[in-house]
Amino acid sequence: MKSKDARPLVVGLVCVSLIGAAFRVTPASVKLLPQDQTPPASRANEDFKFGKVDLELLEQVNLLDGRFEREGLVLDDEATNSYLRRIGEVLVSREMKPENVTWRFRALRDPQPNAFALPNGSIYVTTGLMSLVDNESQLAAVLAHEMTHVMRRHSYLENRSNRKKFLTMNVIAAVGAYSPGGAVGAVITIATTIAPFIVIATMFGYSRELEREADLKGIDMMIHAEYAPEEMVNVMSLLNKDIEGENLRLFYNDHPSLDERIKYLSHYLGARADKVTSQMELNRERAAYFQTMQPVMRHDIQLAINTGRFRSAVYLAQRLVDFHSDSENVFWLAESYRNLGPRPAQLTNQELTNSAKKDAAKKRERRTIEEEDRELLGTPAGQENSRLHLQQAEELYVRALSLENPVPVAHRGLGMLYERLDRATDAVTEYQKYMELAPASIDHERIQKRIEILRRSSP
């Protein structure tokens, strides 16, 4: 065979072997567990040896920590961060000090329920997640999951694996670029077009395995630290609530679906549930948790309102009021309802279908919150929702002002509500009361300007 004739065959073979290689890049250190098999006890990945690439990654993430703090993303509240630290220290045994890991536990100012771990031992839990969970055991479940990622060196393994796969993709692209013409050329072109997708699919599949390992080992850590392990399942159920209708099912997803996680966690726990906490004990734990977390929850409701997550704000504020209906908590519920305006408080089953959520996500990308308000107010349902929610908000503001130690901001809320209802005189009165009661407030200038505009516009 002439060398020119052999070229398509060689190119084809290279493509096939590269695709095959891409499927076999899962590191040997990650053992895939059958559903009912018990994973080894929680410990650091002892076989792990740091290479140049890993140390470079470590350097990058160390810089990230400082940046989160400087940019005001970390909650500057020592009490909350110490609370997280205490739970983390209970979960991790004293002798467990993996190389290049310094445990740090911090709350991140973000209303979206989430948590993540950096490979240097920094664990971040969002205020959104801390406000959503019911008790300390559920928070411990989240921390245990994230700490497993650190101890088992998942970030480093994933980084190494991704680098191999990227290289494979690039080589496939290079080979594809020099494919011959004709039918063989067409086959090779298709193979090189599809291959990167296959490689990407294996990348995300690998991630899913790590997530599963973190879930199962997290349960072990909880049992060891005497936290209620079944709360790991409950925290997944809470995350499955999807109050905002934003959990989209994607083809490529780095976490297993929440339903899938609940299933395998329940299965795993079922075989080892030697500790099941009584409801009474969980209720006590919930009360203590809410007492500690009240300031974080209020802060998170403000963040949720700022970012247009009004349904979450109503849900969280209602939980706070149910726990303790003081003036401040009632005020936050009023704020949430006022901002919810023409939107329904809960999404219907129809709105929670995947296609409806995709449509809603597209609309969110296009419209501003004010435009969404105006659009909804143009419909009878939106007008009715707005009327009901503003009425509810007014009642709650008035209630907040009638309770012991009333918060002055309730006057500001009433002012904004009346301004929206075109009751300019009432709005000015409420704004003035607010400014008298809180002369050093940060929004003094803003409210003063609103008063001036209202006075100019009213007859």
Binding site: E56, L57, E59, Q60, L63, L64, R67, E71, G72, L73, D76, R109, N162, R163, K164, K165, F166, L167, N170, A173, A174, A177, L303, N306, T307, G308, E365, R366, R367, T368, E370, I442, D443, E445, R446, K449, R450
Partner: protein, 238 residues
């Protein structure tokens, strides 16, 4: 021998490799700027921008290698500061606009609150940015506003506008550069998105998205040139 442009070769002349041609084009048009969109208040001179506050820029660059993108956290921070400085210098030199100092948060609880306010306002801009990018032309209709919460930032009273800077870019390793010449045609670049927001009403007064082609970590002169083009339509302060 044929090239992608057809049978253009003559005996004794070698064809121009398309990749080399691309590199030549890139070198000639080293920096480009896309259109700028101004609020009618600015074009009609109802709002004159004299003093601005530049909020910390958020620019992310990665080193793209054959083994995928690698983070450049330290370089990103340095570049963010450099872009802030370059914006300030271009506005001062070409438009007579003065940069006012951003108030540093104090160490008290009030300091935390100020830090949070700034962070939340940056997040607010990040939420608005995709909407602006989707319909850039709507800035000319005065569609976009960040609301009167802007007054909660308690900035210097003489500030007329606040500048938000975002950007992302990549630098190529030598291996990736060679690969790019042979196969992908990828380039080193820096894409910026800059918004100027009224410090009193929160309205978006200007949006521009200059692009710099070349290594973003070293191309200082090209950065300035891209920014000059990006702010070309902004009327002078006087």
């Amino acid at each position: 021998m044929t090239s992608v442009f057809g049978n253009i070769t003559k005996p004794g002349l070698r064809p121009i490799n398309p990749a080399i041609l691309l590199l030549l084009i890139v070198a000639i048009c080293a920096s480009t700027a896309r259109a700028q969109y101004l609020h009618p208040k600015v074009t009609k001179r109802e709002t004159i921008i004299r003093n601005v506050i530049i909020l910390p820029a958020r620019i992310e660059v990665v080193r793209d290698s054959m083994k995928g993108p690698e983070g450049m956290a330290a370089e990103s921070e340095t570049l963010s500061a450099r872009v802030e400085e370059a914006v300030s210098s271009v506005l001062a030199d070409k438009h007579g606009i003065k940069r006012l100092p951003t108030q540093a948060p104090s160490s008290t609880d009030g300091g935390s609150q100020e830090k949070y306010n700034t962070a939340d306002f940056q997040t607010r801009f990040d939420q608005l940015l995709p909407k602006i990018i989707k319909r850039r032309g709507d800035v000319k209709k005065g569609r976009f506003s960040m609301g009167d919460e802007v007054l909660n930032l308690n900035l210097d009273k003489s500030a007329d506008a606040i500048i938000f800077i975002r950007g992302h870019g990549q630098k190529l390793t030598s291996g990736k550069q060679a690969f790019s010449v042979l196969v992908s045609g990828e380039k080193a670049f820096l894409k910026m998105q800059i918004g100027i927001v009224d410090a009193h009403s929160g309205e978006v007064l200007l949006y521009t998205d200059p692009i710099l082609v070349g290594d973003p970590t070293t191309a200082v002169a090209r950065l300035r040139s891209a920014l000059e083009k990006g702010f070309k339509k902004l009327p002078p302060a006087s």
